[in-house]
Amino acid sequence: MVAQSKQSTLTTAGGNVPKAKISQHAGFLHGIRQWWPYYAMMAPGIIFFLIWHYVPIWEAKMAFEQVRIIPPNIWVGLKNFQALFSSPVFYQVLANTLIISGMKIIFVFPVPIMVALLLNEVRSGPLRQSIQSAIYLPHFLSWVVIAGVFVAFLSPTDGAAGQIARGVGLQPINYLTNTGTIRWVLVFTEIWRSAGWDSLLYLAAIISIDTQLYDAAEMDGANRWQKIWHVTLPGIVPTIATLFILNMGMFLSADLNQVINLQNDVNASTIDIIDTYVYRIGLTTGEYSLATAAGLFKAVIGMVLVLVSHLVSKRLTGKGVW
């Protein structure tokens, strides 16, 4: 009786296959045997996530400890968080992070969508491929290289930007040492680097839209713009919603590599973000616990934002990440 209750049953219902009762355990093993090539393909990804994303969660307890090189660590409760929140620059750093991340969400996030929509309208195959190759290329450059390129480009004395400004009778501006412009440099360089590559997902979503919808729209007399607005955009809304929610999860990660490479003495206070602060205080001075506390704070905020975005998206579009 007990054995019988433990054995939940599955009923296969496929065409002429006879109905059979299979135990859950046996079913799982059967599934593994049947689909093993797919499980094998998934394995590296799963192992990667387990090692690099799940095992470290346990070590986040460092945020509540005083780390000792020679164990054991000493439990200090919320002391590291108190130190973090009482730091004279932390709130400035937090504000910078929110501003830069907000600017990126508003100004960077829509660009790949627009790029994908525009690319989809290019009818000539070779032209589209050339454009795609050109706009994907910056994605493969490191921020060190990109920073070098933009420092040279934006130099008011030797850079192209300075020469253009002089050419039209304007006084050249050093955008990298101007606290009013540096955040826009971050936004622009982010667009330059990632807009092309990030448009790939949207382009894939656009390609998967049923072409009959376009045919129907055309029969109804829709022009190109109307087809984009009434067919293409609604067709990629689930992709947009999913990526928006995932982006919200990374909201407080305003890109360490980008900022650290474009940071200098003048703009440091304007673009000093949580990640650069954690890097400077945590790694260079060995305050690992403080750095972990800041990282954990960031992760919790990210998790909350994901949940809120998911719920809002579910309500507005009916789509979420799960």
Partner: protein
């Protein structure tokens, strides 16, 4: 017969093996991690083998094992390595050592230095002071004191004597700027002076000139204040800002990297740059000639300027070494690890470390006279630059030697001290505020009459708290 032969052979091999095992076992394994010391670099490996041989000849049999860490991001990689609990016997730090010292991972080197005469004799005066305050790091090098250099032919073309006052420096920068020394037909497009990152290089010669005598100075009421908020500092920054506003000092110093700074010098876009050490000044000389093939360009060292506050090199921070070698306190072979460092401070160790190898970096004639080859230009000391070692043949150019002589003659100890880790966030915040405001003053984003605003911000960011602590430390 065969059986007996086999048995005898086996017994003989076992005997040889048994004798060999203790022989191998005598080598004490010493694990060393250092920046740019890699098993993939044949020159590093060769030097390590030479050190092992030198130590063995001196009666210490060690097996030096290099731990490879990437040169780029070395400090971060080392922190992660140590945090994982893997602690080598000899560790080269480039920051991040204080936390390790606080946890008792690093050996107090002072008792060892007393015991080992080579180490003691090799120390520079600032090393002695730093070891008194922080006995965990050893970095036997002359203090880093950047000094300015100019092309000798440009100085000759200008017909000016080397500047000896801050006013004469300004006049020299103006003459460089207004002249057409680079010969491109456009006067006014050459900077008098360029730099990179921050103003630390300039401070090296202008601090004393403007009366910034130490990190902590007494105000009118006799209380200790950080020099960064003093009138002397204000006068110095005002001078820098004036140079920049007149196009004499590179406003883009903030975004310059060291190679951009050098490039501006070699290509004639800037007339004067600072060399961070005598060796670096010689590297500049070599690169300048590479950039101008067919010409022989010599560099001239500019003297220290006299100003309203006096003359001299900036006071040297003796609170601690900012980088250097440490010995692990949990090492099972501390004695041998210290012996390795002592050997590197000895004449035999310095000969290897500073000159490389006979037949490669130098040659010797029948009389024993040493001649350096071209390969010496790419050789560098992996360990120390001992104060008591002299090269058998002059290694430095006269300009670089003059820079070294200035450093030797101009050592003044600073009164900065090591901050407890509880003050790390305040030190970081005040540093950010200071660097940011200085750059704003110089680039023109802020006017010098906003100085009081800077001081208020600096104090609010932790300056007041730090000064209060400093008053408990300084007498």
């Amino acid at each position: 017969m065969l059986r007996r032969t086999l048995m005898l052979s086996t017994a003989a091999m076992a005997l040889v093996g048994a004798l060999a095992v203790p022989a191998f076992a005598q080598s004490v394994p010493i694990r060393i991690v250092s920046k740019d010391l890699l098993t993939t670099n044949p020159e590093d490996v060769k030097e390590i083998e030479a050190i092992e041989a030198g130590l063995k000849a001196a009666g210490t049999d060690v097996d030096l094992q290099i731990l490879d860490l990437p040169g780029s991001g070395y400090a971060d990689a080392l922190s992660v390595q140590l945090l994982s609990g893997d602690i080598p016997d000899i560790i080269y730090f480039q920051g991040g050592d204080q936390k390790m010292a606080e946890q008792g991972i690093l050996e107090d080197l002072n008792p060892w230095i007393e015991k080992y005469p080579n180490l003691k004799a090799a120390l520079w005066p600032h090393n002695v002071e730093r070891l008194k305050n922080y006995p965990y790091l050893l970095y036997i090098y002359p203090p880093r004191a950047p000094q300015p250099v100019i092309r000798q032919d440009w100085l000759d073309k200008l017909g000016m004597a080397p500047p000896t006052t801050v006013e004469e420096y300004e006049a020299l920068f103006k003459a460089i700027h207004d002249g057409d020394l680079d010969g491109d037909g456009t006067p006014g497009n050459t900077l008098g002076l360029t730099g990179y990152g921050n103003t630390a290089e300039l401070d090296s010669i202008f601090n004393q000139a403007f009366g910034v005598t130490a990190t902590w100075m007494k105000d009118a009421s006799g209380a200790w204040v950080n020099e960064r908020v003093t009138d002397a500092e204000k006068a110095k920054i005002e001078y820098y800002a004036r140079l920049a506003s007149e196009g004499l000092f590179d406003k883009e110093y903030v975004t310059n990297t060291f190679d951009v700074k050098e490039d501006k010098f070699y290509t004639g876009k800037a007339g004067v740059i600072f060399g961070s050490s005598p060796e670096v000044i010689d590297i500049y000389g070599g690169k300048m000639n590479q950039a101008h093939p067919g010409e022989t360009i010599k560099l001239a060292l500019l003297p220290l300027p006299k100003g309203p506050g006096g003359r001299g090199l900036a006071a040297v921070d003796v609170s601690k070494e900012s980088r250097g070698f440490a010995v692990s306190s949990v090492s099972e072979h501390k004695e041998e690890a210290v012996k390795v460092l002592d050997f590197m401070a000895s004449k035999a160790g310095q000969d290897i470390d500073r000159m490389g190898f006979e037949g490669e970096q130098y040659t010797k004639d029948a009389s024993g006279a040493v001649t350096f080859t071209d390969k010496i230009s790419t050789w560098y000391a992996r360990f120390f630059n001992a104060a008591n070692w002299t090269a058998p043949t002059q290694q430095l150019s006269p300009t670089a030697q003059a820079a070294l002589d200035t450093i030797k003659a101009g050592f003044v100890a600073d009164n900065a001290f090591v901050w407890p880790s509880d003050y790390a966030a305040d030190v970081d915040a005040t540093e950010q505020v200071y660097r940011s405001w200085v750059a704003k003053f110089i680039t023109g984003e802020a006017k010098i009459d906003q100085w009081d605003q800077f001081v208020s911000e600096y104090n609010a960011a932790g300056g007041t708290k730090l000064a209060e602590y400093a008053r408990t430390v300084l007498k």
